[in-house]
Subunit: 313 residues, 2 copies
């Protein structure tokens, strides 16, 4: 039995997890998910990364976008737009039910981790999906426009502003959700998913004690580069590497993770960087295809990542 904890953002992590639960028993997988992207929208609590991971693993996700639900409609959003309400954040009619369910239970005082557990159980998932914290954590993005709430930066302004700084509001006091500490301690392998290092992994690590627990277990940590050939598969990771003055490459990412992970998984496109990364960061570098174009590719990446981590351990 190999127990695996995955530090997860949204689409990239969800795809990785989708492969992982096909190569080991789902019950041995715990996804520890970023909530720095969470937002209040018209009174509702939205958890984009939790939903992307959940919808993907429940085989409900919209394959075109990687987020949202398949067969979605927008009766409510179109009407809201007609009324002059906020329509820049795409929320479909089916998706809305998730937010209503979550908000209803949060209003009743239930913690986000319990609500997530019940939602995932209802959808038939056997793996564990938990928010990294039940407390409030919000990524705030410093730009030329001043500080922007995450979704304001990411969706409303289409991640078009150069990012000068990031902070995670609430991080000082946020405690890990109940299962997080245990999952990290018991894991045979901890995977840093191919997510955005700044917007997905960093907020998650900012929760009290999480970064320390991961670094003190560095021997069993493997990170998968989200940058391939100097480009992000999805989202603004490359732009942020650049605007924050990092090398826009897997090497730039590897430097961010060197204290965290023992093993670094690099796409074969970037095989030429393997030696320099290994020499500079001290990580063991493993090269394999990391583009998750179909189920087989996802499974191969999950299998390869686990093997690389277990080889070292």
């Amino acid at each position: 039995m190999t127990r695996v904890a995955v530090l997860a953002g949204g689409v990239g992590a969800a795809r990785f997890l989708d492969g992982l639960v096909r190569v080991i028993p789902p019950a041995d997988v715990t996804a520890i998910v970023n909530v720095g992207d969470d937002m209040e929208w018209a009174g509702l609590h939205i958890s984009p990364d939790l939903d992307t991971v959940t919808y993907t693993l429940a085989d409900l996700v919209n394959p075109e976008t990687g987020w949202g639900l398949r067969g979605e409609s927008r009766r409510t959003l179109d009407r809201l737009s007609e009324l002059g309400g906020p329509d820049w954040f795409m929320i479909g009619d089916l998706d809305l039910a998730t937010h209503l369910y979550r908000t209803d239970r949060l209003s009743a005082g239930d913690p986000l981790s319990e609500i997530t557990r019940d939602l995932t159980a209802r959808l038939g998932l056997e793996c564990v999906i938990t928010p990294v914290t039940d407390d409030r954590l919000r990524t705030v993005v410093g730009t030329d426009q001043g500080e922007l709430a995450f979704q304001d930066y990411f969706v409303r302004r289409r991640a078009s502003d150069p990012v000068h700084a990031l902070r995670f509001d609430g991080a000082e006091t946020a405690r890990p959700a109940p299962i997080v500490k245990h999952a990290l301690a018991e894991a045979d392998v901890i995977v840093v998913a191919p997510s955005n290092p700044f917007l997905s992994i960093d907020p998650l690590l900012s929760v009290r004690g999480v970064r320390e627990q991961v670094t003190s277990n560095r021997a069993k940590v493997v990170a998968v580069s989200p940058i391939i050939g100097g480009q992000a598969v999805k989202g603004p990771a490359a732009d942020i590497l650049q605007s924050l003055g990092h090398d826009v490459s897997a090497l730039g990412v590897a430097r961010l993770y060197e204290d965290l992970a023992k093993v670094f998984v690099l796409d074969e496109t970037d095989a030429a960087l393997a030696d320099v990364i290994a020499a500079e960061t001290g990580m063991r570098v493993v090269v394999m295809p990391t583009l998750m174009t179909d189920v087989e590719a996802k499974m191969a990446l999950a299998r390869g990542t686990l093997e690389a981590a277990l080889d070292v351990a």
Copy 2:
């Protein structure tokens, strides 16, 4: 010009108003609407009476029910039900947009009366619709099951519990919405709509200063009986008259309104009660058809009600 203020609950008041805005210019009509039925539902602020009045006057209402929207669907609610969420309160996909719009603006600190004004303007309404108060007011129903929140009593338990007591949470501190005092002062006629005296009119009157302002203008107040032939046209008014020990008839209603109104409009079915009501309450009693079966009937009732009030004044 006849300026008319209407104290309004939900369906009955909405139908009365629909006739009224067809017999005088809509801009001369102000509907002062009960918000004791308002509720928080999964984080959203729902104002059932405001919506029923608004949808009716915008010709959007579902004619089958008298509330909700025509051509409504329930994608979100069905999905919420599948997730195990609260599904006892019927909220359609289009209706949901109203609640999201309202809640979004309330979250931003806008008062309910301004939000209502903007919504009604957006829907092309020329009359004024205002909540009686921008403050929190909640009808609490005393039953054998203990105290129930209004919609718990009304929708979830289908108004099946005998009502022993009613109280209006927040009434001690709720202030009238900005336009209410002015509308009552400037009105040539104040109409107590054919709404539930206990659940629609009483909470509205409980807001600070409203009852006093209406009674001090008694000479221009006309009340329309919601009870015809000992039965409520809609809803639990007759049951509540009985359980609270009142006469289950238009006479029972007239007694509740005798300090409030100078004129009482009685359905022709109850013509035999006219003399006893007049003798006992001192109100002028006017008999006319009050059942609002179609547009013509609504218009005739509105016209007859105004004439009866103006005759006295």
